[in-house]
Every structure is written in structure tokens, then in C-alpha cells.
């Protein structure tokens, strides 16, 4: 299973002390006690996706002495670990468990609170489906006997037994519809549940009345089967909404929870980020995130500002520079003066933007809701008209009532209730296999409507990680030395260096990192320096320090390594595929203009905008929406998150920042960008199938309703008609599985899922 390149990166984690792992105290607090000195912790591992992942993680955890039980849940991508509070008299550290998962090559996060809900309702729904299914099969057995000729006393007996089975099932399984219908009616409007509740109750009442009067027809089977089918639809719909959300949302928060504050008297304490006031002095060590906006008082370092501009190339900062909250301090310790409280910081502004952008999407009405708005009044009117009609013709209340009930049963949106969710679940399953997770069904509906695709550059079109491009030209010995030195830094260029070498030999000597410049290693050969040209060789004014690194020995240049941010696999093909789908492409980037222009030329994308702030991206999305376009935004960074929210529908790679993943409707797990056209195509197909299903359901009504109105809808006819229409809709939805799999993204390349990304 080459897709799970487990442990590749774990081995290189020497110099990253628990980077990104939740702190021990937090893990301890988040776990719950099971008694007998056992505690249970639930971790989210979004990278888990196949059987090998399960065995790797479970195997690694079970080897640990402090772990009692470990189980990976592939559906929700969670790891549930039961561990002992003490092993051999030593308090165990839950962080070690998280680290064990990380060492297998998977990210591990704690959930934010409140992810668990939802599941309760799903269980209730499944139970209701089971009860309705049980009742439906048994009543159907009895009904078949009645239809095949049971008469007089036997028929009455069967009807009575049916009535007794149906009653509890209708109360237990039907409550979802009754509650929802009642809520709708109380607020003065109708929804799909009103005709359902009415049909079920009326048909049950009518059937009971018939049974008491030794009547020939009873609709117990119809009413329960109706509930059964509709509940299946409802359950699928619910699953659809909650499926990927549990894996995507609720991941570790990005903003730091606290910071070390230096008091005026020189003492230090660690305070929650909310209690930091402007003007206070903060210490930020290398590897920590900047807690609040501030100004550097002393120290020099490189900052990963991808939060702000999406650009992963670090920026050197020194005394006097301003820094934004949420950016990652890479190389050296900094002393800051806070300039804003946490609630006024950059991160807070992003959150605010996201909330503000939310409005556009809330107005979207799902197809099923739109259909219900017209469907349910029409059905009621039809039943009422047939009742009045038959009263006028025959004057027999009982018969007219029977017909009206038959009309309600026949027109009940059984097929309609299944039409949308079945297609969406099948489509989501297909997308899931292709490595795309869908947050909810409406996202697919929205994706099928788009006409414009806006792409972020770094991290989306490109991988957002520099890569060594001239490995073949440099001396292998120099490369090995450089990689050994680079092992001691967390700088992205250093990471790229040791990723480019097969095996890294540790270097003996005194190694120190000079923030903002490079790494210096004093060995027996002399002093090696790895970093910018100015630092390594001493000539000032060398150009473009970001994309090259020089290795020097005692100031003499040994090798020059060049780096480039490589394109995401299949980026070019995907851009072409999007054109072929008739979509307009555009690039929205926070990066510098020449870089974006060059990339746009390479991909053949005419429209691009560079140097955009997070707000600028939102405005670009809003402008496109005002121009009547429906926009798909593809982005990964925190700076894209507000735009992801503002767009009609959005997509993010799995390597995206947590906030980006939460904001996006789709998350693609593999590296290739071909997931984007694949998702669009699948959604469009799903949209077509949904429309076909609606047409089928309506066509069914056109045939069946006259039958009911003219009084030929015996219970047998009703049962057959109802089941056939539902089955047709389901089979039509299943066609999606067979439809051209040629566009599905190819199997993941190499370590398809880069399990750990050091910088979100």
C-alpha cells in the first residue's frame, strides 16, 4: 500500500519538538476518566484513509505500555485511545500517544467541543427506520394474504393485527414528520412533511374505520411503507450532512492559547491570550505562533506569514518590525511589545470576515426545499378537490374520504423524498473514493451551478513548499553535508534540502542557527555555513535570497542550491479540463505580481490578481457574485478562509490550514488538482440525476394521480405504485456509480497524502 508512506517524515522530526501537538495538560483535560485508572482520548486523524493506515496506527499504539486499547474509526477519521493514568508508578503523558500517531506519519488533533452532537439524531433515525421496516414487512405479509383472497373473519383478523403493528410503529417512526409538520404549520407555512403527516394519519384513521366496519380495504401497509421509505431518505440526507464534517471541522485551533509575558519586574508568567493587554512585553520562542499583533523589541527571526498572504516563503524580521497574530516564528526567539489585544488582532479580523461572508450562502435554498414549496400545497389542493368532486357526484362522505386519502397516499413525496438524498449519497461515495470529501449535500448542488473558478496560488496551484531543482548539478557530497546541516533547522528551505537527500548522515560539530541568515556548523573540516549568499560567502547584495541557498566552507562557496515552488500535480491538465467544462478560471493570490503573472502564463489563465489581502479576496468573490457569476473558490490558507466562505461554493486541499478546511465545502485528500474538475463533473452529473429523478417522480404522479382520483387506487395498487416509483428513483441514482469513471483522479502519487505538514 504505497499510498500510506508511513514514517517517512517521522524520522526527520528530530528537531521539531512535538510541533503542532496539543499540550499534555489539554489532552489530559480533554480525556475522560473510565474508572480503574483508565482514561479515554478521542483524537482526529484526518490523514487516515485505508486499511494499512488502521493497522499502522493501531499497531504503533498497542505497542506502547500505557495504551490499553486503541481503535481507529475510518468513517469519521478518529482514533479512540484508552490509556492508563499510571504505568509502573509514573504518570503517563497523553502527548506521547499523540506523538506516537504523529510518528507513524499522521496528523493528530484534539477535537474542539461540540462535534459529537448530530450522532444522536442519526441513531434515532436509524432506529426509526428499523422499526418502520419491521412493521412494514410484517404488515405487507398480512396484506398480501388479504389481496390474494382472504375474506370475512380472516381478513378482519389480519386487518386488526396490521392495525396493532402499525400503531406503535407510526408513533415511534413517524414522530420526526409529525414534529416537523407541526413546527411548519405553527409558523404558518407548509413543508414536505405536512402532506406526509396528513396522509399517514388520515390513512391510518380511515383504515381503522374500515376495519371496524368490516370493510374490504385497509391502507395500513401503505402508511407504514411510506414512513419506511421516507425515513430512509431522511436518514441518508442526515448522513450526508454530517459525514465529512466530523473529520474536517473541530480540528485544533490555530491561535495560540497563551503566551509568556515578561512583567515589568522581570518575572515571567504564562497567561491566556485574552488577558494580554497592549503594551505588554511578550517572549515568543522559535516554533511558537505569535499570540497577538505586536512590534519586535529585540531579536531577529524568520516568520512564516502564510496566514497573512498565503505565501510560505519566510520573511525575515528584526527589531522594529510589526508582526501579526497567528504567524509562526520559525528560527529565533523574539521579544515583542503587544500592540493590540487578542480580540482586535489579525486572526480575530479574519474570523469576523468569515462571519460577515457567511450571509451569501445562508440564502441558498436546497433543491428539495424549493420543490417542497410548490409540491405540498398542490397535493393538498388535489386531495381536497377530489373529495369535493366525489361529494358532488355521489354525496357519500365515506367514499369521498377514501378517495381523498388514496390521493394523498399516492401523491406522497416518497420518491421525491428519496430523489435527492440517494443521488447525493451515491455521489458523495464516488467523490470519497476519488479522494474528495463533501461536507454536505447542498455543497454538491451549489457546485453543479458554478460558472467561474477562482484559484489561490500558493498551496493550491503550487504545493506551497520549496523544492530543490538543481539536485543533479551539485556535488553529491556537498548536498549530503548541506542536508545534514539543514536537519537542524525548521526553515522550509532546510526541510526541502533534507527531503531531497535519501539518507542523512548526522554531522558532528557545533551547530547553531543564526536567525534571519542561516545555519553555521563548526566541524573538524572548518566552518560550514548554509544560508543566503551574504551570510555564507560574505558578499553583500546578492539577489533573491529566498530561492537559493549557498553552502560554504570557511567562506568559500561549495555549492549553490536553487529552489522552486513546484506546481501541484495535474495543475495544467486541470486548468484545461476546467476550460473544457466551460468555466472561467482566475487566480487570486496574496503573492507578488511577477510570480503570479508567470504562473498564470504557464497555466494559460488570462485573469489573475496579485497582492490581495484576505479582504481583497472576499471583495473579488463578492464582485464576481454581483456580476451574476457563481464562483467556486479553491484555496488553502487562512488568508483564503473568508473568501472560501464568501464564494458560492469552495474547495480546499487536505494540506490546507485547519481554518481553511473548516471554511471549505469540499476537501480533497490527494495531491493532484484534478480533484477539482472531477468534483465539478460528479456534482453536475448528480445534479442531472436529481433533475431526472424529479422528472420521474412527477411523471409517476401524472400517471398515478388520475388512477387515485377515479377511485381505482386499491391498497394493492397504492403499494405497488409507491414502491415502484421509489425503486426507480433509487436505481436511477445508482447509475451514477457506473457512469464514466475515466475522469476519476488517478491513484495517489507516491506519498499521496503528505501526512504531516509542519506549517499549516
Amino acid at each position: 500500500m504505497s499510498c500510506c508512506a508511513a514514517g517517512v517524515e517521522g524520522a526527520l522530526d528530530i528537531d521539531r519538538p512535538g510541533q503542532g501537538l496539543p499540550p499534555s495538560e489539554e489532552l489530559w483535560l480533554a480525556s475522560h476518566a473510565l474508572g480503574d485508572g483508565l482514561r479515554q482520548t478521542e483524537l482526529s486523524a484526518p490523514g487516515v484513509h485505508c486499511g494499512a493506515c488502521i493497522t499502522t496506527i493501531e499497531g504503533a499504539l498497542r505497542k506502547r505500555p500505557d495504551v490499553e486499547r486503541a481503535r481507529v474509526n475510518l468513517s469519521s477519521r478518529r482514533v479512540s485511545v484508552v490509556w492508563k493514568e499510571e504505568v509502573a508508578g509514573r504518570r503517563s503523558d497523553p502527548r506521547e500517544i499523540a506523538r506516537a500517531i504523529r510518528d507513524c506519519g499522521y496528523e493528530a488533533h484534539l477535537f474542539a467541543a461540540g462535534v459529537e452532537e448530530g450522532d444522536v439524531l442519526l441513531k434515532q433515525l436509524i432506529r426509526a427506520v428499523a422499526v418502520a421496516g419491521f412493521a412494514a414487512t410484517n404488515i405487507m405479509l398480512l396484506s398480501v394474504s388479504v389481496w390474494s383472497g382472504a375474506d370475512a373473519a380472516t381478513r378482519d383478523l389480519f386487518h386488526w393485527i396490521s392495525a396493532m403493528i402499525a400503531a406503535p410503529a407510526m408513533i415511534y417512526s413517524g414522530r420526526f414528520f409529525y414534529q416537523s409538520a407541526w413546527n411548519a404549520l405553527r409558523h404558518g407555512h407548509t413543508n414536505m412533511d405536512v402532506p406526509i403527516a396528513l396522509a399517514v394519519t388520515l390513512s391510518y384513521g380511515m383504515s381503522l374505520h374500515e376495519t371496524i366496519g368490516h370493510g374490504e380495504h385497509a391502507w395500513f401497509d401503505a402508511s407504514v411503507t411510506l414512513l419506511f421509505f421516507l425515513l430512509i431518505g431522511r436518514t441518508l440526507d442526515h448522513m450526508m450532512r454530517g459525514r465529512a464534517r466530523s473529520a474536517i471541522s473541530g480540528l485544533a485551533r490555530l491561535s495560540p492559547r497563551g503566551a509568556t509575558v515578561v512583567n515589568p519586574d522581570g518575572s515571567r508568567d504564562y497567561r491566556p491570550v485574552d488577558e494580554i493587554k497592549p503594551g505588554e512585553r511578550l517572549l515568543v520562542a522559535a516554533g511558537e505562533r505569535i499570540p497577538v499583533d505586536g512590534r519586535v523589541l529585540s531579536g531577529a527571526s524568520d516568520l512564516d506569514r502564510s496566514v497573512v498572504n498565503g505565501e510560505s516563503a519566510p520573511v525575515a524580521v528584526s527589531t522594529g518590525d510589526t508582526v501579526q497574530a497567528g504567524t509562526l516564528n520559525l528560527t529565533g526567539p523574539l521579544t515583542l511589545e503587544a500592540t493590540a489585544a487578542a480580540r482586535d488582532s489579525f486572526l480575530a479580523e479574519i474570523m469576523g470576515l468569515m462571519e460577515a461572508a457567511e450571509g451569501g450562502r445562508a440564502r441558498y435554498r436546497r433543491i428539495a426545499d424549493r420543490a417542497a414549496r410548490y409540491y405540498s400545497p398542490a397535493v393538498h389542493l388535489l386531495a381536497l378537490l377530489s373529495f369535493i368532486g366525489w361529494m358532488l357526484i355521489e354525496g357519500d362522505v365515506r367514499h369521498a374520504m377514501l378517495i381523498a386519502v388514496a390521493v394523498l397516499i399516492i401523491t406522497c413525496p416518497c420518491a421525491l423524498g428519496l430523489a435527492v438524498p440517494v443521488v447525493q449519497v451515491v455521489a458523495a461515495g464516488r467523490l470519497f473514493q476519488g479522494g474528495v470529501m463533501v461536507k454536505d449535500g447542498s455543497a454538491m448542488e451549489r457546485l453543479s451551478e458554478i460558472d467561474t473558478v477562482l484559484l489561490d496560488k500558493t498551496g493550491t496551484l503550487t504545493m506551497g513548499e520549496p523544492r530543490l531543482v538543481n539536485a543533479g548539478e551539485v556535488d553529491p557530497g556537498a548536498l549530503a553535508t548541506a542536508a545534514a546541516i539543514a536537519l537542524h533547522s525548521r526553515h522550509p528551505i532546510a526541510t526541502a534540502l533534507h527531503e531531497a537527500t535519501a539518507a542523512v548522515q548526522p554531522l558532528v560539530g557545533e551547530i547553531r542557527e543564526i536567525p534571519g541568515a542561516g545555519i553555521e556548523a563548526g566541524t573538524s573540516d572548518g566552518v560550514y555555513r548554509l544560508g543566503s549568499r551574504a551570510f555564507a560567502c560574505g558578499d553583500a547584495g546578492a539577489a533573491n535570497g529566498q530561492s537559493e541557498a549557498i553552502l560554504s566552507l570557511d567562506g568559500r562557496e561549495l555549492a549553490c542550491f536553487r529552489f522552486e515552488d513546484r506546481l501541484r500535480p495535474a495543475a495544467r491538465e486541470s486548468a484545461d479540463a476546467l476550460f473544457r467544462l466551460g468555466l472561467t478560471n482566475g487566480i487570486l493570490s496574496g503573492d507578488r505580481e511577477p510570480v503570479v503573472a508567470a504562473l498564470a502564463r504557464r497555466l494559460g489563465i488570462a485573469k489573475w490578481r496579485a497582492e490581495l489581502s484576505p479582504r481583497g479576496k472576499v471583495e473579488a468573490c463578492a464582485a464576481a457574485a454581483e456580476g451574476g457569476h457563481r464562483v467556486l473558490m479553491v484555496g488553502d490558507g487562512i488568508n483564503d478562509a473568508p473568501a472560501l466562505r464568501a464564494a458560492h461554493v469552495s474547495m480546499a486541499p487536505a494540506t490546507a490550514a485547519d481554518v481553511g478546511r473548516q471554511a471549505a465545502d469540499f476537501v480533497f485528500m490527494h495531491q493532484g488538482l484534478d480533484a477539482v474538475p472531477f468534483a465539478i463533473e460528479t456534482s453536475r452529473r448528480a445534479g442531472r440525476l436529481i433533475r431526472q429523478n424529479f422528472a420521474l417522480a412527477i411523471g409517476y404522479n401524472v400517471i398515478a394521480v388520475p388512477v387515485a382520483i377515479f377511485g381505482y387506487a386499491t391498497p394493492l395498487v397504492a403499494a405497488v405504485a409507491m414502491s415502484t416509483s421509489s425503486l426507480i428513483v433509487v436505481f436511477n441514482a445508482l447509475r451514477l456509480k457506473g457512469l464514466g469513471t475515466a475522469t476519476a483522479p488517478a491513484a495517489p502519487h507516491g506519498a499521496g497524502l503528505r501526512p504531516v505538514r509542519s506549517v499549516p
Binding site: 485505508c50 488502521i54 475510518l74 468513517s75 428499523a130 414487512t137 410484517n138 398480512l142 380472516t154 383478523l157
Partner: protein, 52 residues
């Protein structure tokens, strides 16, 4: 007709048994990870912690 007196309760009882079994399976968490279950079949281990 008389056999129905036995057969119908038996049929209902068996059906009820099936329902109870399903509800039990649901409650004991067997439906919580359907994707994982399909992979676990291929796992050669016995699924128990590797401890002695």
C-alpha cells in the same frame, strides 16, 4: 385457520428477534465504522491488543 393462531405470533416473534438483534448491534457500535470494517476483514491479526 387454526394454524394461524400459532404462525402469526411465531412470524412476529421471529421478525421482532431480527429487529432486536439489529437494535442491539446498533447500540453496541457495530455500525459506527462501516468503512473501517470493510478493511479490517483483510487484517490478519486477531484484533486484540498485542500484549502478554
Amino acid at each position: 385457520m387454526n394454524t394461524l393462531i400459532y404462525l402469526i405470533p411465531i412470524a412476529l416473534f421471529l421478525g421482532g428477534l431480527g429487529l432486536a438483534a439489529f437494535l442491539w448491534a446498533l447500540k453496541s457500535g457495530q455500525y459506527e465504522d462501516l468503512d473501517g470494517a470493510s478493511w479490517r476483514v483483510l487484517d490478519d491479526g486477531d484484533g486484540r491488543p498485542e500484549k502478554d
